[in-house]
């Protein structure tokens, strides 16, 4: 019985989701900031592309990632030849898949947090002699951080729960690329009800905690700071 409860998928899932969220944050915040400041054609197109992962089935996304990053693709071959790095059927692939499905949530939240800042505050800071970077750090981020934090939490939840895209890109190699959602499916197929139940309970608990955090953040956001 003890050998049937293998918690590797749990730890892998958290590692993958955390790494994916970190990269989503680094890439997403500048995009959100840019999207909030400009309303040109390029911004519109970018916005559409960014939203696509919410609407597309995860398997379709996974398929695109396979085509784009697979060993036969230009990028895949380049990575393999120069860095000896493969993406498909590795944890790296799982991270990329999780990031792509989760980044829209972070960008959307951060963008509306930026948009919620009264422009006259930024103008006041400019007139008071501060540089744009300084204003971003002292005004924009402190006023938008709750929205950004909500976005981070939401995108972490989405990354943690991804099934389709991860399965397509990283596969389901036990003790290597098998994340929690895939392990649940696998356990069920193998008739291991006990393992499936434990994993399902863990996932549910995590989801509830995440929703609670987001709720708290949003409530405080409407109350305002100070």
């Amino acid at each position: 019985m003890t050998e049937s409860i293998n918690l590797f998928p749990l730890f892998l899932s958290f590692r993958v989701a955390l790494t994916a969220t970190l990269f989503a944050f680094i890439i997403g915040i500048p995009i959100a900031y840019y999207l909030n400041r400009s309303n040109g054609k390029i911004a519109d197109i970018l916005d559409t592309l960014i939203t696509l992962p919410i609407v597309l089935p995860p398997t379709v996304l996974g398929y695109y990632l396979l085509v784009l990053l697979g060993r036969q693709s230009t990028i895949g071959r380049f990575l393999e030849e120069t860095f000896d790095m493969t993406i498909v059927f590795t944890p790296t692939g799982a991270v990329i898949a999780a990031m792509v499905v989760s980044i829209p949530y972070l960008i959307k939240s951060a963008r509306s947090a930026f948009a919620g800042i009264d422009p006259s505050l930024l103008n006041a800071a400019r007139v008071l002699g501060r540089s744009e970077l300084n204003i971003f750090l002292t005004i924009t981020i402190p006023l938008a951080w709750r929205g950004i934090a909500a976005g981070i939490t939401l995108s972490f939840a989405r990354a943690l729960g991804d099934f389709g895209a991860t399965l397509m890109v990283a596969g389901s190699i036990p003790n290597e690329t098998m994340t929690m959602p895939i392990a649940i499916y696998d356990a069920l197929l193998a008739g291991n009800r006990e393992l499936a139940n434990i994993l399902v309970i863990i996932m549910t608990a995590v989801a509830i905690i995440i929703l609670y955090i987001i709720n708290r953040l949003e409530k405080r956001m409407t109350k305002g700071t100070g």
């Binding site: 006259s120 006041a124 800071a125 007139v127 008071l128 002699g129 501060r130 700071t225 100070g226």
Partner: protein, 347 residues
């Protein structure tokens, strides 16, 4: 001395502003959306004009032919926004300190605390803007700007966000703080005429992005030059003239005596403030006419009477509520005193 000569094409109109302002308060007045705020934004560097130049105390802030266009942060201009724009996540102290640069911490602290004292906010240093009243917020905004010792101070509708009953009090407070702590040039944007008259020394009248008249406030309010000026400062009776000489004019069959004045061919209308129309029991005074009342609108202190003369000129007269009964009961004449008649040019 501030010298402005700028133009900028905007969505609904073209802004063409050319004026000078010196020490003291200059009011920029006009209806909403006439370019007043855009002018302030151009001055502060938040917007860039299409053409022209801006000089402040001899120093160019914007002069495209010399490729000069200072950024907002380098212009040393104080801007008090309509909604005060206090940083909600910072305390009163932190807000006021925000614009101080290149000073030691001790110097900053000293400046901030002396400024807090000057605007009577001692004890509120650690409060957040949301915990303050509208008047206190306004004082923080003013302090935050004054502490940076700006060369030019811009006040955008400073009293429009306040309740009516505190407005007067805060107006006096603001004036006191300004007089005691600021010696530079102040531009104040408003659409409230009373406020403008009380606070400003000089007035610039705006309409649809154009300056229609500028000068000392007494001059503007007593002798508006043209129809638009008269309308903006609240003249309700503006009537076309048929002919005019130096001493009298013909208005729809009525002959009105004028104070002797120079007549140009651009004169097209006469105007009179509704408060300046009087009622007398005899018809001995100049410009006294019989009339009928066609409408009465009663206000708190003043009643607006719509009156019609025999020659069918319709005028609006404001009279104190106490004398309305008298006017209604007795046979009276309406009097248009020549010294109050405005001679207006078309635009």
């Amino acid at each position: 001395m501030l010298t402005v000569d700028i133009s900028k094409t905007l969505k609904h109109f073209k802004l063409n502003a050319s004026f000078e302002a010196s020490k003291g308060i200059t009011g920029i007045i006009g209806p909403s959306g006439c370019g007043k705020s855009v002018t302030l934004q151009c001055l502060s560097g938040l917007l860039t004009p299409d053409h022209g130049k801006i000089l402040l105390n001899g120093k160019p802030l914007f002069q495209p032919d010399q490729r000069i266009n200072l950024k907002a942060k380098d212009r040393k201009i104080g801007y008090v926004f309509q909604n005060y724009a206090l940083f909600p996540h910072m305390t009163v102290e932190q807000n006021i300190e925000f614009g101080l640069k290149g000073l030691l911490t001790a110097e900053k602290k000293q400046k901030v605390s002396s400024m807090i004292e000057k605007v009577q906010l001692s004890g509120y240093e650690k409060h957040y803007p949301a915990q303050l009243s509208g008047g206190q917020q306004q004082r923080v905004a003013l302090a935050r700007t004054l502490v940076t010792e700006p060369d030019l101070l811009l006040l955008d509708e400073p009293f429009s966000a306040l309740d009516h009953h505190v407005k007067h009090l805060l107006e006096q407070e603001l004036m006191k703080i300004l007089k005691e702590n600021y010696e530079g040039i102040v531009l104040l944007v408003t659409h409230n005429m009373e406020e403008a008259y009380r606070l400003c020394d000089q007035i610039i009248l705006y309409d649809q992005g154009q300056i229609i008249q500028a000068g000392r406030k007494e001059e503007i309010f007593e002798k508006p030059k043209n129809i638009t000026s008269a309308k903006i400062i609240g003249c309700q009776n503006i009537i076309p003239v048929d002919s005019i000489t130096e001493t009298q004019c013909q208005v729809q069959g009525l002959t009105l005596k004028l104070e002797k004045q120079h007549v140009t061919e651009n004169i097209s209308h006469i105007g009179i403030f509704s408060e300046n129309i009087h009622f007398n029991e005899d018809n001995q005074s100049l410009n006294a006419f019989p009339f009928k009342i066609t409408d009465i609108v009663k206000g708190i202190h003043q009643t607006n009477l719509t009156v019609k003369t025999a020659d069918a000129i319709t005028l609006i007269a404001s009279v104190p509520n106490e004398i309305v009964d008298q006017i209604l009961k007795k046979k009276m004449y309406l009097v248009i005193p020549p010294q109050h008649l405005l001679i207006l040019e078309k635009r």
